[in-house]
Amino acid sequence: MKRHEPDWFSLAAGLLFTVLGVVFAVAAANGWAPDGRWVASGTLIALGAGGIAASVAASRREQRQQALAGERGEDWPSDPFA
C-alpha cells in the first residue's frame, strides 16, 4: 500500500471508534457504563468534524490539481457545485 494524502474522515472515525472500543471494553470489564449522552454527542461531533475536514481537504486538493493542470496547459474539469 502506497502512502497517499491524509484521509481526515478516516482519521476522525478511526480515532473515535478506537476510543469508544477501549472505553466500552474497560467499562464492561469493570461493570460500569459511560453516559449515553456523552457517547452519542461525541460520536456525532467526531463524524461531523471528520466529514467537514475531509470536504475541505478534497476541495483544496481539487484546486491544487486544477492549478497544476493549468500549468501544464491541460483541461481539468471542475465541479461547479464544489
Binding site: M1, K2, R3, H4, P6, D7, W8, F9, S10, L11, A13, G14, L15, L16, F17, T18, V19, L20, G21, V22, V23, F24, A25, V26, A27, A28, A29, G31, W32, A33, P34, G36, V39, T43, L47, G51, A54, A58, E62, Q65, A69, D75, W76, P77, S78, D79, P80, F81, A82
Partner: protein, 437 residues
C-alpha cells in the same frame, strides 16, 4: 469543440423551416424551451440564431442581433442547468450534443456516444449491492457518508429503510459490463473507490487509484480476534460482560484500521460497520452495568418447572388435595400469573380437622403475580420485587427497586382451616394480593 463554422457570420442559418419569415423576439434566457443548435464558435461573434429547428418544433424567431446567451457552452444547453463561465463538463457527464457547426441534412460526427443517464448500481464501489455507490455517483457525494447515513436511518426507522434498499437494489440496473467509455464506472473500472462524479473520468483514467485491501484485512483481523475471545470467553469476568468486551475489542480494531487508512490504503468504509457495532456494544455495556449493580438480577431469569423458559400467562389453582404435595413450586419466566387460593376455604376442610399448613413458592421473572386469597385463610407472605410494586390489602402500595415485604394477613375466622406460607418473588413487575370473602 471549436470546429470551423461554415456558416458565414451575419447570415441566418437555413433550417427545415427556412421559408418562414422570422421576426425578432427577445429571448428570456438560456434555459428556455427553444433549441439553440446553430451557434457560432467561441471565437466568433454571435450571429442571428435560428431557434426551434428541432424536428417537430414550430419555427421560432431568431434572437435579436448582438444577443449573446449567458453561459455559452455545451453545458448551457441543458434546460435549467447553467454552468459558470469557463466550465467544461467531463466527457462522461455530457449528454450527446451535435457539434454546433453541423449543417443540416448532413450526418454529424459523434465524438462521444450517447451516455446513459440512468442511475445504476456501481460495480467498482460496492459493499452490498452497489446502491449507495451508484447513488453517490449520481448525486455527486461521498459514498461512505451515504452508507453511514443509510445504516443510521435503517436503525432509526426500525429497518424500514432496509426494505427501500432492497427495492432500489431490484429496481436499479447494474453498471454495464465491460464498462464503455462515457458510461458510468468507466473511469475507475480498474478498481478502488471511484472519484466523485463531478471530478470527471478523464483525469482519473490518467491516474487510477490503487485497489486497497486494508479494509478487508482489518475486518478479517477483527473477526479472528472475536472468534478467539469467544473461544476463551470463559476467562472473562462474567457472562454478562463478555459480549460487551467482545464488541469493544472489535470496535477498537476497526478504529485502528481506519486510522491506518488515513495514510495507507483505504478503510473508511469500515465506519459503516463500526456504527452498528458501537450501538450494539453500548447496549451491552449498559446492560452489563445494570446487571453488575443489581445483586438480584438473577430473579429476572426464571426457568419453568421443566428447566426451560416458560413464557405466557398462567393460572395456578390450589385445591385442598394439593396440601399433601406441600411445598408447592410455581414458576414462570415471563407473563402474568394468577395464584388462586380461593378453593382453600373452611367448607373445603373437614369439620373438626386441625388447621392445614401449606407452603408455596411462586416466582415470576418479568410480569405480574396476582394472589387471590379467601378470607378464612391465614397468609404469611414474604414478597420481593426487584423492580416494580407490591400491593397488599391494608397497606399502601410500595413501588421502586428492590422492594420487599413480610406480613401476615389474618383470617376472618378465629380458627382458619389453612395456614398458607407464600414466598413470592418477581424480577420486574408487581405482586398484588386480593382477599375475597
Amino acid at each position: 469543440m471549436s470546429t470551423p463554422d461554415p456558416t458565414p457570420a451575419g447570415e441566418p442559418i437555413p433550417g427545415p423551416d427556412a421559408g418562414v419569415s422570422p421576426s425578432p423576439q427577445p429571448h428570456v434566457g438560456a434555459s428556455g424551451d427553444t433549441a439553440t443548435t446553430a451557434l457560432p464558435g467561441p471565437d466568433q461573434q454571435p450571429t442571428t440564431v435560428l431557434a426551434g429547428v428541432g424536428a417537430g418544433q414550430p419555427p421560432q424567431p431568431p434572437y435579436p442581433p448582438g444577443y449573446q446567451q449567458p453561459g455559452y457552452g455545451p453545458g448551457a444547453q441543458q434546460p435549467g442547468y447553467a454552468l459558470p463561465p469557463g466550465y467544461q463538463q467531463a466527457p462522461s457527464e455530457q449528454p450527446y450534443q451535435a457539434p454546433y457547426s453541423a449543417p443540416y441534412g448532413q450526418p454529424t460526427p459523434q465524438p462521444y456516444p450517447p451516455a446513459p443517464q440512468r442511475i445504476t448500481r456501481s460495480r467498482s464501489d460496492r459493499v452490498v449491492g452497489g446502491v449507495c455507490g451508484g447513488l453517490a455517483r449520481a448525486w455527486n457525494t461521498d459514498p461512505t457518508l451515504l452508507r453511514i447515513l443509510t445504516v443510521v436511518l435503517t436503525i432509526v426507522t426500525g429497518g424500514a429503510l432496509l426494505l427501500g434498499y432492497v427495492i432500489a437494489w431490484i429496481v436499479m440496473p447494474d453498471d454495464p459490463w465491460p464498462p464503455q467509455p462515457g458510461q458510468p464506472g468507466a473511469g475507475y473500472a480498474a478498481g478502488g473507490n471511484p472519484p466523485y462524479a463531478g471530478q470527471g473520468t478523464a483525469a482519473m483514467a490518467a491516474a487510477p487509484r490503487e485497489r486497497s485491501y486494508l479494509g478487508w484485512m482489518v475486518l478479517s483481523v477483527a473477526v479472528l480476534v472475536a472468534g478467539l475471545i469467544t473461544l476463551f470467553g470463559v476467562a472473562l469476568p462474567s457472562t454478562a460482560a463478555a459480549p460487551a468486551i467482545l464488541g469493544g475489542v472489535v470496535l477498537a480494531i476497526l478504529g485502528l484500521g481506519m486510522v491506518v487508512g488515513t495514510w495507507y490504503g483505504r478503510a473508511r468504509w469500515l465506519a459503516v460497520l463500526a456504527v452498528p457495532v458501537a450501538l450494539l456494544t453500548f447496549g451491552g455495556v449498559a446492560a452489563n452495568a445494570f446487571v453488575q449493580s443489581n445483586p438480584n438480577w438473577d430473579r429476572w431469569v426464571v426457568e419453568g418447572s421443566d428447566g426451560r423458559l416458560a413464557i405466557g400467562d398462567q393460572t395456578w389453582r390450589v385445591t385442598p388435595d394439593d396440601v399433601a404435595d406441600s411445598p408447592l413450586d410455581y414458576r414462570i419466566s415471563a407473563g402474568d400469573a394468577v395464584l388462586d387460593l380461593r378453593a382453600l376455604t373452611a367448607a373445603g376442610a373437614a369439620e373438626g380437622r386441625p388447621e392445614q399448613r401449606l407452603e408455596i413458592d411462586a416466582s415470576v421473572g418479568v410480569g405480574q403475580l396476582q394472589v387471590l386469597v379467601p378470607d378464612d385463610v391465614r397468609l404469611d407472605l414474604t414478597a420481593s420485587v426487584d423492580v416494580g410494586e407490591i400491593s397488599v390489602p391494608g397497606r399502601a402500595p410500595e413501588g421502586g427497586t428492590q422492594q420487599s415485604l413480610t406480613t401476615t394477613l389474618e383470617a376472618a375466622t378465629p380458627r382458619p382451616a389453612y395456614l398458607v406460607t407464600l414466598d413470592a418473588v418477581v424480577g420486574a413487575g408487581s405482586i398484588t394480593v386480593e382477599v375475597f370473602e
